[in-house]
Amino acid sequence: MKDNYLKLEFLSLPENQAFARDAVAAFCLPLNPTLSQLSDVKTAVSEAVTNCTVHAYRGTSGIITVECRTEGGQLHIKIGDKGAGIADVNAAIQPFFTTMPSDERSGMGFTIMQTFMDEFSVQSKVGEGTLVCMSKRFEPEVENA
């Protein structure tokens, strides 16, 4: 299978969360993910895009970029914004860390991305934005002998 590439740019509206995760799910279908793997990818994308909407562009709106690349049996995803940025990434990725407890935010977004994907990293600069990179490996297709 040829490696593939997708780039999405969309406004940080809450209703675009579903669009973004469904688009990434559709993109990785040729890698023959199991339903469980597909669910993991959708959830991880939803977490990252929600962070952009809720935190990066809090009280305002901006562009969220989702880039996907398939390489061999791997899916690489980059989700970026040009929003507020995160002052302390190490603190932010701890389970239950939230800056908005009164809004029923669980603080589990980064933990879920880390757990559901095989590789995960966050780069961020206050005032410049945040980039989340995630990868997931899918078992190669087994050919019948």
């Binding site: 579903a18 977490e47 029923e104």
Partner: protein
């Protein structure tokens, strides 16, 4: 995402369906709280998740918020029939130690 309530005996069933992300949770939060407030005679509340097609971490805050509301009336809360993906996320969060699964 939608919610439908039904009182059966002493149990208030809240049937959740659709996609529970932060956008979906915002849509049904008030409706859920109204159903709880209108049924405080219930001895327990069960969130039936059989028809939930997707969840992200918004489901944790959503369930915890309704749990607090129910506990303000001393009504215990349970989760019923979470689909595989929801069950995985809820297990990871540790929420079952305060909102247990029920049959």
């Amino acid at each position: 995402m939608t919610v439908q309530g039904s009182l059966s005996g002493n149990t208030l069933y809240l049937y959740l369906s659709g996609e529970i992300d932060s956008c979906g949770a915002d849509k049904v939060r008030k409706a859920c709280d109204k159903l709880i407030e209108a049924n405080i005679q219930a001895s327990r509340i069960v969130f039936n998740m059989e028809k939930v097609s997707f969840v992200d971490s918004a489901v944790i805050g959503f369930l915890m918020g309704r749990y607090k509301k129910a506990m303000s009336f001393n009504i215990p809360v349970y989760i019923q029939n979470p689909p595989f993906g929801a069950d995985k996320l809820l297990s990871l969060s540790g929420i079952y130690s305060i909102i247990p699964k029920t049959r």
